[in-house]
């Protein structure tokens, strides 16, 4: 958050030629603080979310060749995720991400923390999914409401064309 209270906004891009989602986001923190917030499990559970869900870390070994596993719970429902820490570098984290409900699916995530100076850092997060289908499912995941809204809009449009 900057002095006027405006939040930094995340920008997102779905690559048309590769099954990749790219995100960029600035933070008022140093790269090492951001690395810590991603690698320290006690800090990580406090922000990984989503809102209204409780996250519990089951396994966490945040080092090159390490692994992670956590569950997110809300209203009796439970969603598990796991993956490997492929590489934990100075200012990069390369890790895999799998939803337990779809164990064959895997995303390769590359997080790079770019030092902007003055205690600010730009996060470059890239997720490479193993298929376009996987990416689109991912983009649409938990988006039933969004899709419904989209269809409602299409309905209205179609109605107007009649």
């Amino acid at each position: 958050m900057n002095a006027t209270g405006n939040r930094h906004q995340v920008s997102i891009e779905a690559d048309p030629a590769l099954p990749i989602i790219r995100m960029t986001r600035d933070f008022d923190a140093t790269p090492s603080e951001l690395m810590r917030a991603h690698l320290d499990p006690d800090l990580f559970v406090r922000w990984v979310g989503p809102n209204g869900m409780e996250t519990e870390i089951l396994d966490w070994y945040a080092t090159t060749g390490g692994r992670w596993r956590y569950v997110a719970r809300a209203g009796g429902e439970e969603f598990g995720f796991h993956g490997s820490f492929h590489e934990v570098g100075e200012d990069t984290i390369v890790q895999t991400f799998t939803y337990d409900g779809q164990p064959d699916g895997v995303a390769l995530e590359t997080l790079r923390f770019e030092d902007l100076g003055d205690g600010r850092t730009r996060l470059h997060a890239q997720s490479l999914v193993d298929s376009f289908e996987g990416r689109d499912q991912w983009l649409a995941s938990g988006m039933e409401v969004g899709v419904e809204e989209g269809y409602a809009k299409l309905d209205a449009l179609v109605g107007a064309l009649r």
């Binding site: 958050m1 997102i12 030629a17 603080e33 899709v147």
Partner: protein, 127 residues
């Protein structure tokens, strides 16, 4: 547009390749050949997908005989951006929580510094 055509719209968007082609066309008009480029499938297969999209009224092809570029009808663009916008909003919420954690990390460090200062002052006094 009748109900049959409406279900054609839904069916056309249910296919991941066609959704991806729609995402590609949201960036600008493209020929069937250009649309086929990222996929390991024939131009004919992509041509069939274009026909499904065109039948549903989601895509139009201009009469330019040489290139016949495909054009996305703008309203569908809204649908796709809506999906991506929702995904973006979830990421934004996550990173705003991270903002809070980062701010609290700083507060903790400052509190720890203060504690150790007090500790040192006590030692000074005791000496």
């Amino acid at each position: 547009m009748d109900d049959e055509q409406l279900s054609r719209v839904f069916a056309a968007l249910a296919d991941p390749t066609r959704r991806d082609m729609v995402a590609r066309l949201a960036l600008g008009d493209a020929t069937v050949g250009e649309l086929a480029d990222p996929y390991d499938v024939s131009v004919q297969a992509i041509s069939k997908h274009v026909k499904v999209l065109a039948d549903a009224g989601l895509v139009t092809q201009t009469r330019d005989a040489q290139r016949r570029p495909c054009h996305l009808e703008a309203e569908v663009f809204d649908l796709m951006t809506k999906w991506i916008e929702r995904y973006r909003r979830q990421a934004q919420e996550r990173y705003e929580r991270l903002d809070t954690v980062l701010a609290e990390m700083r507060d903790d460090v400052r509190a720890a510094d203060r504690d150790s200062e007090h500790e040192e002052q006590r030692h000074e006094r005791d000496r």
